[in-house]
């Protein structure tokens, strides 16, 4: 299974979109119903908010060719199956399900509605009418690490993990790898909150990490609570999924912003044009799906280093998971000269050297 790059997809889609015949047909037809299933509230300032920005972008771009609907705070599991089926039976022909726990429900509903196209975010199961898509968040983590390495006085970063899945693990590793390019003695302390959105637990974790000496807070959870704690305690941090600078203007250095707009617009156009095909997309900086929020609260030379890291990844000059990489025990995990392929990254279940803590197992 090879992942297609987002660029080829975007190129092919743009060509199809410019065909005048197709535009003419779409304008005459009923609007395309597009459903979105969200795991959190649209005002979460993070993950779900970013998806909703994408939904609005589809409406702004395609106007009355589309009609979007969303259902928020849908629990993973059986409840989501009901909601997805409800959206499909109410005439939506393209449905985005935006949380990992919607994977099996999406597949089940897709079997019942073969003429509806489904897009599942962050999963690995596909079908004739089910695509998967995701962002290479770990690229942003590396950039954050480079910035943290320059700014941290204690050399300790506190990292709030959500649930112990490869996606979160690879982010931790990319962060510490980036941080150690600047400060080889840097260490990371981690906390698992076992939730994606739990402002109370997230805030408490930030406090605990700061008490353990962390002067930079990073998070793989969706609320702004950790950044707000960071601001109160006078330390710095990174936003998650959306630009959270409004919540903590004095603490946010930058944020890895999920920018779903181009993908959502493209897939809607594909369905309208009749060119939609099941695929797997994993886009990073070069796809435009991942962007960094404006750099703030840091000296110019640090911002420059951050930008340089961003540019290096975009151009392929920096390969994050390239050996030599050691794991926590000091054993060599990736030999010098070797690069991990997407399969190895996507199933990562080890922590890199410099991280204190464990993956629950």
């Amino acid at each position: 299974m090879k992942r297609r790059t987002f660029n080829t997809l975007l190129g092919a889609g743009l060509l199809a979109g410019t065909a005048p015949m197709i535009i003419g047909r779409a304008a005459a037809a009923d609007p395309l119903g597009i459903g979105f299933v969200y795991v959190g509230p649209v005002e979460d300032f993070g993950w779900t908010h970013a998806h909703d920005v994408g939904r609005k972008a589809v409406e702004a771009e395609l106007g009355n060719q589309v009609k979007t609907t969303f259902v928020e705070s849908v629990k993973e599991g059986p409840d989501s199956e009901r909601v997805i089926a409800e959206l499909a039976s109410k005439g939506n022909k393209l449905i985005f399900t935006t949380s990992f726990g919607y994977m099996n429900p999406t597949i089940k509903v897709a079997q019942r509605f073969p003429d509806v196209k489904f897009e599942h975010c962050t999963g690995y199961k596909r079908a004739e009418n089910v695509s998967t898509y995701n962002i290479r968040f770990y690229e942003g983590r590396y950039v954050q690490g480079v910035i943290a390495g320059r700014l941290s006085k204690s050399g300790i970063v506190g990292y709030i993990g959500s649930v112990p899945i490869p996606e979160v693990v690879m982010g931790m590793n990319a962060f510490i790898i980036g941080m150690r390019t600047v400060n080889p003695k840097a260490r990371m302390k981690i906390v698992w909150v076992n939730a994606w959105y739990d402002p109370g637990k997230e805030g408490d974790s930030a406090k605990a990490l700061i008490d353990q000496g962390a002067d930079i807070i990073a998070q793989h959870t969706d609320s702004g609570a950790p950044l707000q704690v960071a601001q109160q305690r006078g330390v710095l941090g990174f936003g998650q999924a959306s630009d959270m600078s409004a919540l903590a203007p004095k603490a946010q250095l930058t944020a890895s912003v999920d920018f779903w707009n181009p993908y959502y617009i493209q897939r809607a156009k594909d369905v309208i044009a009749g060119t939609w095909k099941s695929q797997d997309v994993w886009g990073g900086f070069d796809s435009g799906m991942l962007v960094m929020a404006p750099y703030a609260n840091m000296p110019d030379d640090v911002a420059k280093a951050g930008k340089a890291a961003e540019e290096g990844i975009r151009e392929g000059k920096i390969v994050i998971f390239k050996g030599p990489i050691k794991d926590q025990s000091g054993a060599e995990k990736v030999p010098a000269g070797t690069e991990l392929d997407d399969g190895a990254i996507a199933s990562m279940n080890w922590l890199a050297e410099g991280i204190d803590g464990q993956i629950p197992s």
């Binding site: 629990k75 599991g77 409840d79 199933s347």
Partner: protein, 359 residues
Amino acid sequence: MLLRLEPRGEHSRLWTYASPLLALALTVVTAAIIFSVLGKDPLQSLYVYLISPLTSTTGLPELFVKAAPLILIGVGLSLGFRANVWNIGAEGQYTLGAIFAAGLALSYPDAPAILLMPAMMVLGILGGMAWAAIPAYLRTRWNANEILTSLMLTYVAQLLLIYLVTGPWRDPEGYGFPQTALFSSNATPPMLVEGTRVHLGVLAAFLVAIIGWIVLTRSVIGFQLRVLGQAPRAARFAGFSQSRLIWLSLMVGGGLAGLAGMFEVAGPVGQLTPSISPGYGFTAIIVAFLGRLHPIGVIFGGLILALSYLGGEAAQIDLRMPNAVTGIFQGILLFFLLACDVLILYRLRGPKPAAAGGA
């Protein structure tokens, strides 16, 4: 003019049944006002919220699927609550029932369904009972408050579940995600209606409620539970064993919660994941009270609460209302229900003639 509350001196039989209906009516009126403040047509909004989920072909079956675990747990809790045994930890007992049954389903996926399914049901019940046995023992042996112990054990159960799905029971082909393999078809409860998600557990929920009703009203045990709740001293004088009734309450509550957990993971969920319950064990407490702690009432309570979820989703899809409407609707309903209960023990009176006229 001032209204007064005058004690009735007894339970009003009429208002015991009329109070929830009045509460429901007041909720509907209040919801209509909120809808119109939100700028929506109140009648259309009420239709979308309360009626439309029932009219679609999948709506009614989905209502039963959503209500089934609430009813199963609610019936068990209501028996205990009647005896003043406050089992707040049904969520944890549900989780343990799911874990016990999943262990069997994952160990013997190819066992014939005719053996596997009943065995999973028994294990689900045993799992819930085992978890409820801890607060029962602590209460009867050390007089530890079962509200606290059962509630705290919920968090222990959740951590145990996370440990299992991230560790020993993790699906080796699941790309490291915290989940077990999907259960085999033999370990999946049979569907009662083709093309829907109505599984064996839905039937079980209704059967359990009916059995619970018979036990409560027709058996000596049911009588003892009611007496213990209403007049503990009288129960002691009558020689009822309090610890036996505490054990019984917690075993029934825990066993049924465990059974609900088993049916939910084997049926609609299909595997163990860290999020196998959207809080059924806690919502069932509301359901039990909504149903007047009466097993048949619990059926209605479960259906009404399930409807509020489905209606909230329909309101989001058809009216673009925020999800918060669901929570507001449930909150208003509970508020009025508790408020209307005053009428069971008190009657509403106008001002005293003496005070008004001074005659």
